[in-house]
């Protein structure tokens, strides 16, 4: 309340950047939202993008809007590989690398702690491999396995078996699969493909017994050509596909859980709000907390399925997938 009154007052008196800077400075002395103490040291956070437009920019704008005023100072550090602000990257308390290319650049160009966002688990794995000892932190786009399976449970209450399609990247998630499947009372049949030629036999295998197919995010399995094969073959077997992006649902998957750049931005804002120093965020992989659900109604109709609305599905997922 106090915060908003001061904000309003200042906004009448000062224009533009001065206004924002003053507000940020003042709020640094005031209690912050969510009970996080603002006694923690405010960090200078350099935001390095992988691309000048698109989802990185959407993320940056959403983060700017979501971040508690005065908590930390966000500073744009340019675009990876092109006019990146080397000085800023060298002095910032934390480099927030938006996308795989930005993370790669940050790890090379800066000795400061790096938190990567809008990246996948396999990106983090590769970056850690290429830069051992740096302790990259990341808030990944990969949804927790249990969340995927809760969606299956929420859409198909009678499902017993799910075919999980893994590729060279997503095979990293294999160890967590049994536990997640048990938690959702589903049996997960797993098949890993190493090259495109393995795809159709793997699909025939998984769709033979499974009630649904879950291709996990992967450089091979998630490609346009592979997705076409997956969707057509699944439809041939009259089995729904549960995917990991909105585009996959538009393309013909029945449903997906996914996080948008805006969701990730809000998650990062929470992380920053709860972090007194960069070390609290790096050397960890944070799953996305916020997510959305998309459903392809035309596919549901063609498969003879009645699927609850997205809001109800989100609630069911939050409650463990049960109706």
């Amino acid at each position: 309340m106090v915060t908003s009154v001061i904000r309003a007052l200042v906004s009448r008196l000062l224009p533009g950047c001065q206004r924002v800077a003053l507000v940020l400075a003042m709020l640094g002395l005031l209690p912050g939202p969510d009970g996080f103490s603002v006694q923690a040291q405010a960090m200078e956070v350099a935001v390095l993008l992988s691309e000048a437009e698109g989802r990185g920019q959407r993320f940056a704008e959403a983060l700017d809007a979501a971040l508690a005023p005065g908590m930390h100072r966000l500073v744009a550090a340019g675009v990876a590989g092109v006019q990146a602000d080397a000085a800023l990257l060298g002095r910032a308390d934390l480099v927030l690398a938006v996308g795989q290319a930005a993370a790669e650049h940050a790890l090379r160009a800066s000795a400061q702690p790096v938190l990567a966002v809008l990246v996948g688990l396999r990106d983090v794995d590769r970056l850690n491999g290429a830069h051992p000892g740096r302790g990259l932190g990341a808030l990944v786009l990969d949804q927790p396995l249990e969340r995927h399976l809760r969606l299956v449970r929420a859409v198909l209450p009678d499902a017993k078996r799910v075919g999980v399609l893994l590729g060279p990247d997503s095979v990293l998630q294999l160890p967590g699969l049994p536990g997640a499947a048990d938690a959702c009372q589903l049996q997960a049949d797993v098949h890993e493909v190493r090259q495109p030629a393995d795809l159709v036999p793997a699909l025939d295998h998984l769709l033979f017994a499974g009630d649904a197919l879950l291709p996990l995010p992967d450089g091979l399995v998630s490609g346009p050509a592979a997705a076409r094969t997956i969707l057509l073959t699944s439809y041939r077997h009259r089995r729904p596909v549960f995917a990991h992006s909105a585009a996959y649902v538009t393309a013909g998957a029945l449903a997906a859980v996914f996080s948008t750049p805006e969701h990730v931005a809000m998650d990062v804002a929470d992380l920053l709000a709860g972090a007194a120093e960069p070390s609290a965020m790096v050397r960890k992989i944070h799953p996305p907390r916020r997510f959305d659900v998309a459903v392809n109604r035309a596919v549901a109709r063609a498969l003879g399925l009645v699927v609850a609305d997205e809001k109800a599905l989100r609630e069911r997922i939050a409650n463990g997938g049960e109706q």
Partner: protein, 687 residues
């Protein structure tokens, strides 16, 4: 928001202002994945694959009654020929006879050249340009290539144009991307039945998918049949067919797709009977080519633009000598050549756009051009190519004024060389009673334009310049057949029971039914040509005419029950009555549909990857017209036992199939023809 963020940067240039020069480089930086040939799993573009045009429309939403014969039914039926699969559609009648290709009709009115159903392969019409029928035994496609068959069980000229009269059969082939590796298929059984096939596929999962399938089959459909009553023998038929089909899809971009298919079929048919003086034992050669190329742009999830070109070519060769005796002078015997030599070609170009016009309104608009060419001295009395062109504009609007109500208004305007301008409208309303059931009311008008034969036939056998025999001919230009219809349907999916129900009643009013009538020399309605000097003036010739108006009333239903772990049962039943046509031009018309037809397919999953299936096909007594005759009540049973092997989900199997367990059965003409049963062993091995 962007401005606030940008203003606080150390260097006061907005990100947006930097976007132009750095965008390309930024994207290049992102392309580290692309360089590795990897996709972005979370934000990468994916081609829209399962859109409305690719998905089978739910029967709850369809503006017309639709039956889908899916892959499971196709395999379990044991049928080795595509036309036989239509026995699984309610009200469909399938017959074979030894003097030509099989015939398929819906609700009666069928003859040796049954031509009131539009048949398509992946959306392209394949009815023969000559008769308008389908040369089923010469399709450059095998059962193994078929993914599913969508059958519209009624007129649908509004969506498919003229000649979508009694029904529309769309054979959907298996997408090449759903198959990989190689497979060898062999079937062998009684009566010298041999069927060998290979299937080669691209790697799968790539932007270019392809499949090549080829087969050779030898079969005897009819052995010579001895008619006890008159002590004579009737025709037999043995076929050899070589078939190849290539199908490919190139995903040019996430929006654009190019498709290409080419299929060829060629082979020899041994037909005729030793005892037939006018149709002795002889060999015929057939060849068919289908070529299809298309471009498809998925503009967005609900908008698709497609351009398709289709070319079809058919060639038939067959010559034999006809012997005729003078009716009063047995010493006067004349032999002259007869033939079925003919060539026909079709070029078909179609552009179609489907889109959403408003939140509750979708639309489709298309334009098509078709040219048909045929040449046959025997059939048309001239060696020149006969040409015809047709153009059509078609469209539909689907409006959801209320959540449960859907109104579909469609129509096709076609200019037809044989019959002028025709407009086929349709109005359909679907009302959802709940999420799982709906009522449908549809009404409209459909046309069938005369085929090339019905427009230009002058079928003759000549001895030098003298015409010795006339078969089919035309005296007066014919008008299109017209049908006005009304259909009331109920569709329900009873999920807890695993049961789907599709039921309907309908009434169809036929006008200007195109029939053929026989006449003898001197009594035909037109002037006989001066060159016509028949040996036996009492021999009949046939002419086409617009004949009776009549009414058809029917009811049909399908129950499709499935229980996981048990299997599936699909029961279809149709009741048909034809009346209000007295006096009929052909007394067989009201009897051309059996009062009752039934099909039942039971599929039982057994332990150890075994599966047993039983097909039951029943028809009451009915008549095939014009060349056919009475077919008695038949209760036919088919049995198939199969065991899958190899990796789970693979198509590898060994099977034993018996079609018509009760043995030979009367087909098409009870007095003359007995179709052979089939008993064969099949093996499919993929690797």
């Amino acid at each position: 928001m962007q401005e606030k963020f940008a203003l606080c940067r150390p260097r006061a240039r907005s990100l947006a202002s930097r976007a132009g020069p750095v965008l390309l480089l930024g994207l290049l930086a992102l392309d580290a994945r692309a360089e590795r040939g990897e996709a972005d799993p979370f934000f990468g573009a994916i081609p829209m694959v399962l859109t409305a045009s690719r998905l089978a429309q739910s029967p709850l939403d369809a503006p017309a009654p639709v039956t889908v014969i899916d892959r499971e039914m196709i395999v379990a039926s044991g049928f080795n020929e595509i036309h036989d699969l239509l026995r699984l559609a309610p009200g469909f009648l399938v017959a074979d006879h030894p003097d030509g290709p099989p015939a398929v009709a819906s609700h009666g009115l069928g003859d040796a050249h049954a031509r009131r159903i539009k048949v398509m392969v992946d959306g392209r019409t394949i009815n023969s340009p000559l008769w308008g029928n389908v040369i089923w035994d010469n399709l450059p496609l095998r059962v193994d290539d078929v993914e599913r068959i969508e059958v519209v069980r009624g007129p649908n000229g509004a969506a498919y144009g003229v000649n979508a009269f009694q029904g529309v059969v769309n054979i959907i082939t298996r997408a090449p991307s759903t198959e990989s590796g190689r497979a060898f298929v062999v079937r062998a059984g009684k009566n010298g039945f041999r069927d060998y096939g290979v299937r080669l596929n691209g790697a799968g999962g790539s932007a270019f998918d392809w499949r090549l399938s080829a087969s050779r089959r030898e079969l005897t459909t009819f052995e010579p049949h001895f008619r006890q009553r008159l002590g004579d023998w009737h025709s037999s038929e043995s076929l050899t067919r070589n078939t190849a089909h290539f199908s490919s899809v190139l995903q040019v971009s996430t929006l654009d797709e190019l498709g290409f298919q080419v299929g060829v079929s060629e082979g020899r048919s041994k037909r005729g009977a030793e005892a037939y003086l006018d149709y002795p034992r002889h060999a015929e050669d057939d060849r068919a080519l289908h070529l299809q190329a298309g471009w498809r742009r998925q503009v967005d999830a609900e908008s698709v633009l497609s351009l398709q070109y289709f070319h079809q070519a058919e060639r038939a060769r067959g010559n034999w000598a006809v012997t005729q005796r003078h009716p009063t002078d047995p010493a006067m015997v004349v032999r002259f050549p007869s033939s079925r030599d003919s060539e026909a070609r079709r070029h078909d170009l179609e552009l179609q756009y489907d889109t959403r016009l408003a939140r509750r309104l979708t639309g489709m608009l298309g334009i098509g051009l078709r040219s048909e060419h045929a040449r046959s001295t025997h059939l048309f009395g001239t060696g020149r190519w006969l040409d015809a062109t047709h153009g059509q504009i078609f469209g539909s609007l689907t409006w959801n004024p209320l959540e449960p109500l859907k109104i579909d208004l469609g129509g096709t305007l076609e200019h037809h060389d044989y019959s002028g301008r025709l407009f086929s409208p349709r109005l359909a309303m679907n009302y959802a009673l709940d999420a799982d059931s709906a009522l449908r009311l549809s009404t409209g008008t459909a046309y069938r334009a005369p085929s090339l034969m019905e427009s230009r036939a002058f079928q003759t056998d000549r001895e030098g310049d003298t015409i010795r025999r006339i078969g089919f001919r035309v005296f007066e230009p014919l008008q299109s057949e017209r049908m006005r219809f009304v259909d009331l349907g109920y569709v329900a999916q009873l999920r807890p029971l695993g049961l789907n129900l599709d039921a309907r009643i309908f009434r169809e009013h036929y006008r200007r039914f195109i029939d053929d009538k026989s006449c003898i020399f001197g009594e035909c309605p037109g002037t006989e040509p001066a060159a016509y000097v028949p040996i036996d003036p009492g021999k009949k010739s046939f002419y086409f005419l617009n004949a009776s108006d009549f009414r058809m009333t029917g009811a049909e239903f399908t129950l499709d029950w499935r229980k996981l772990g048990w299997g599936r049962a699909v029961l279809s039943q149709a009741f048909i009555r034809i009346d209000h046509g007295e006096p009929y031009s052909d007394r067989d018309i009201p009897n051309s549909a059996p009062h009752s037809t039934t099909s039942l397919l039971l599929i039982k999953d057994l332990p150890g990857r075994w599966q047993a299936s039983l097909g039951y096909y029943h028809n009451g007594l009915y008549y095939w017209m014009n060349g056919g005759d009475i077919v008695p009540r038949i209760d036919r049973f088919d049995l198939r036992i199969a065991r899958r092997f190899g990796p789970p989900g693979s198509d590898n199997e060994v099977s034993l199939t018996a079609l018509s367990l009760k043995g030979r059965y009367a087909d098409f003409h009870e007095d003359k023809f007995r179709h052979e049963p089939d008993l064969y062993l099949g093996v499919r091995i993929g690797w």
